[in-house]
């Protein structure tokens, strides 16, 4: 027995001490470790649907032009990338790109205009089901929404490409904002089985980084591409995306210095992170907001007869205004977001400085809420404490998603406020996967959810009443003037005019209150101070990470509290 015990102890010691030796060589300083919560599904930009898939694939594949954020004007700007310059023709119906001749694929083949044409061809092919399928509206398309390649592209020479847009379209650089993929690698694949076949091929990339390894559910390691024109020996050599699903574990590793960068920091962790001297906290300018959706149309009538009838509770803008008065948004912000939240009163984020309308939000005021309710014909006629109208009690189920403490708190607050003015709600929690189909079917009356405002600003899909193009207009909001302005916004070229239209749309939406806008949320990132040249913009923080440098004398390998 003693002998066995001795052997077990010895084995245990060997197991512990051997790796300790290897652990020391783990400290490769010129690298950044980014903690992420889940693995990506694909690194091919054709199928990079999620945030980090996009971010990583954009470090591996170059676009013709690179978007950046102009903080002064609050808008997107484009700078040269694969294209060293470009020239629009007089009526902006075509554009000529002059490509760099010093860009190689990772298998040493040259990147040429043929690759760019092939990329547009494959992104728009219905068989591929790429993330950009059916979004090339400014190009000449066939019945299947595939770009007519011969008509749209003219390869003048290997490094000069002319793109012709559809007649009377309003193209911009957004239309060509896609990562270019290698023709010589993917051209031979059967397009009907493309999504499966491409998995069997190693990535051939042309970006500032190369994929070194991808251990499923463990880590994705990118090393710098020394052949890239973006390469600078002073910049970081490696980026590691470490997959740590548990938030607490991720945070612990950040505090230990095992992880250098982490997003979505919870506000209750701010005090402990502020005490660590090598951690920097930084909020990303807000693009995300929570809102309460009030179904503007009656779900039952829609279901039974497919007809539109105003919602029995929320069809009247006065009622929706009353409900907005009844929500104490500041209290939710104070409790959950602190300095990283801001009251919202419209669909345009304050970061879009020139498009943002300065409107005074409807402040929390229960008297005003009651006033507007009575103006809309609601009263407590039977004195039971609950408002009614034509025999209908103001009582409805209110849906929120599971696992979001902020929204749970907000819904409790809303419930209490509404009870005090004579409205009953029953808060129901639901899995997002279950709630979404109900929203698409316009089946429910009231809910709380969040949106992220796109870049560039696009309000059409959320607020236009046409059912074809505005699938995300869950409230069935319908205002013909807003529709008109949204249509104009889509076809207007002048930025000044666009800004004016955006402001008008915000004011109209504010008057109608189709939803109650709650608060803007700033995504809080925390990173090790040894990372330098990090650019915090509303775009993803790792957007320009090939420019990051690492202060080699400052290794925050162990948390030192600043007490």
């Amino acid at each position: 027995m003693k002998k066995k015990l001795f052997i077990i102890t010895l084995l245990f010691l060997v197991l512990v001490f051997l790796p300790s030796c290897s652990k020391k060589s783990d400290q490769i300083p010129n690298q950044v470790v980014i903690g992420i919560d889940s693995d990506v599904e694909s690194l091919n930009p054709l199928f990079s649907f999620s945030g980090y898939e996009n971010n990583i694939s954009e470090l591996l594949y170059l676009k013709l032009v690179q978007s950046d954020w102009d903080d002064e004007n609050g808008s997107l700007v484009y700078s040269p990338m694969l294209a060293k310059s470009w020239k629009w023709n007089n009526d902006s119906s075509s554009i000529i790109f002059y490509l760099r001749d010093d860009v190689l694929w990772s298998d040493s083949q040259q990147v040429t205009a043929e690759d760019v044409v092939f990329s547009f061809d494959i992104y728009s092919d219905e068989n591929i089901e790429s993330k950009l399928y059916d979004t090339f509206n400014n190009f000449d398309l066939d019945k299947t929404k595939h770009i007519k390649i011969k008509k749209s592209f003219e390869v003048i020479d290997p490094y000069t490409l002319k793109i012709n847009f559809k007649k009377n379209s309003i193209p911009s650089l957004i239309d060509i904002d896609l990562p270019v993929i290698p023709k010589h690698v993917y051209d031979k694949l059967d397009r009907k089985k493309f999504a499966i076949l491409e998995k069997e091929i190693s990535l051939v990339t042309n970006g500032p980084f190369i994929l070194k390894s991808w251990d499923k559910n463990q880590a994705i390691v990118l090393t710098v591409n020394k052949n890239s024109f973006l390469y600078d020996s002073k910049h970081i050599e490696k980026i590691i995306f470490k997959i740590v699903p548990d938030y607490t574990s991720r945070l612990t590793q950040l505090k230990k210095g095992e992880i250098d960068f982490m997003e979505d920091i919870r506000t209750d962790d701010i005090p402990s992170l502020k005490q660590i001297d090598f951690i920097q906290l930084s909020p990303l300018p807000a693009r995300e907001y929570d809102y309460i959706g009030w179904n503007n149309i009656d779900p039952e009538t829609l279901k039974k007869s497919n007809k539109i009838k105003p919602n029995k509770y929320f069809g009247d803008p006065l009622v929706r205004k009353a409900l907005t008065f009844a929500v104490n948004r500041q209290e939710i912000i104070d409790e959950y977001l602190g300095d990283f939240g801001q009251v919202s009163f419209g669909p345009v984020s304050p970061i879009f400085k020139s498009s943002f309308a300065e409107i005074k939000p409807l402040e929390y005021n229960l008297d005003s809420a009651k006033y507007y309710l009575s103006k809309a014909g609601w009263s407590d006629s039977d004195k039971d404490g609950v408002f009614d109208k034509n025999g209908l009690k103001f009582s409805f189920p209110f849906y929120i998603t599971n696992g979001n403490p902020r929204r749970e708190f907000a819904s409790t607050l809303l419930k209490n406020s509404l009870i005090s003015i004579g409205i009953n709600i029953e808060v129901k929690k639901m899995d997002l996967q279950v709630l979404m189909p109900k929203l698409f079917a316009k089946e429910i009356d009231a809910w709380m959810l969040g949106w992220v405002v796109g870049m560039p600003l696009d309000m059409y899909v959320f607020w236009h009443s046409s059912s074809d193009a505005s699938q995300l207009n869950f409230t069935s909001y319908n205002n013909k003037i807003v529709d008109k302005y949204l249509d104009e916004y889509k076809i207007t070229k002048s930025e000044i005019l666009k800004d004016e239209l955006a402001k008008k749309i915000q004011i109209l939406i504010y008057n109608d209150q189709p939803v109650t806008f709650l608060y803007w949320i700033q995504n809080l990132v925390a990173y090790n101070k040894r990372i330098q040249n990090l650019k915090i913009t509303p775009l993803e923080p790792i957007h320009y990470s090939w420019n990051w440098t690492v202060n080699l004398s400052r290794l925050g390998s162990r948390a030192k509290t600043g007490k």
Binding site: L18, D134, T252
Partner: protein, 328 residues
């Protein structure tokens, strides 16, 4: 007798296949009628609404459920579990990436649970009624009552954060591939210590409790008293008579426990960021990846059936009465 055993094995095999088929069919129907939509991730302000219908078409979700079920059964007979919606590759090849880790991790944990549970029970029963025995019983009960996620977080806090002895997550270090084989092995080992403790503690207490109670019962049985009266030494009595007569129920539990472990240890995998079947299954469920959910369930079902079969045969090997019962 041998013919009867083979016939019994065959019967068991057929029953297992029927059980698996029924389970998968039930799951198939349940998934198709449960709320949620696998194409939901293709809905966004930036994506075209037409993409969803295209994806639905290519996943075969536009067809009636009966047609989908028929296709599923036909594919199943050829060993094709379909293509994962999430990973866009065959379910088998996705599972192949996750299963080896789960098997190694589960077997290691199982071994630890069995060995420690066994020796602890033996050590405890030999000191029956002493403070040591009582302390072990109380501690094991307390450990059993603590959920594994609490143990995991606590271990990370103490051994990773405070003492900085073990890594807090992952299976390897980033530079693992460039190290020598021995160092790679050591690197794996150091990453596995905390997850193994987290996963094994609960099981150790279960095995301990089962075995200790059975040993106690056997110690007090008439045949042991009888043997003792013949003057057989206590050591021989324990080794040859008490242990073999007490271990049966523990083997049954071991069969179930091994099956559960092989299905994936979700909580431990999530806390320590390990790439196992549990995490794969939950990701599949959350993203409504129907073929992958069915694939994971199928593998779990097979492993549970196999481990129970193994446990039954070990018991039968130890006790002929059980073998006769199985044949009958």
């Amino acid at each position: 007798m041998n013919k009867e055993i083979i016939l019994s094995l065959f019967k068991r095999f057929i029953t297992s296949i029927v059980v698996l088929l029924l389970m998968l069919s039930f799951l198939f129907v349940l998934l198709r009628y449960s709320p949620g939509d696998p194409t939901q991730k293709f809905v966004s302000a930036k994506l075209s609404p037409n993409l969803v219908s295209k994806v639905k078409e290519s996943f075969g979700l536009d067809k009636p459920v009966l047609t989908q079920y028929k296709n599923f059964l036909v594919n199943l007979t050829t060993g094709d579990l379909g293509v994962s919606y999430t990973y866009r590759e065959s379910v088998i090849s996705v599972i192949k990436k996750y299963l080896p880790f789960t098997i190694i991790f589960s077997l290691l944990s199982f071994l630890i649970q069995i060995l420690l549970g066994y020796y602890l029970a033996l050590y405890s029963i030999k000191r029956k009624g002493t403070y040591v025995d009582k302390a072990i019983q109380k501690i094991s009960l307390s450990v059993y009552a603590v959920p594994s996620f609490v143990i995991g977080v606590l271990l990370i806090y103490v051994f990773s954060w405070k003492i900085n002895l073990f890594p807090s997550s992952g299976l390897t270090s980033f530079n693992n591939q460039s190290s020598s084989f021995i160092l790679q092995l050591g690197d794996y080992a150091v990453h596995m210590i905390l997850p193994l403790i987290t996963l094994s503690l609960g099981g150790i207490t279960v095995f301990y409790k089962y075995l200790r109670d059975n040993l106690d019962e056997t110690f007090n049985s008439h045949f042991v008293m009888n043997l003792r009266s013949y003057g057989i030494s206590e050591k021989e009595l324990i080794k040859k008579h008490i242990i073999p007569n007490s271990i049966g129920p523990m083997i049954s539990v071991a069969g179930i426990e091994l099956g559960i472990l092989l299905s994936g240890a979700l909580i431990t995998e999530v806390i320590f960021g390990l790439p196992g079947m549990g995490r794969l299954a939950i990701t599949a469920i959350l993203s409504r990846d129907y073929p992958l959910i069915i694939g994971c369930t199928f593998i779990s079902g097979v492993l549970i059936i196999l481990s129970n079969l193994l446990a039954d045969f070990i018991r039968a090997k130890m006790d002929k009465r059980i073998l006769i019962g199985m044949i009958n």
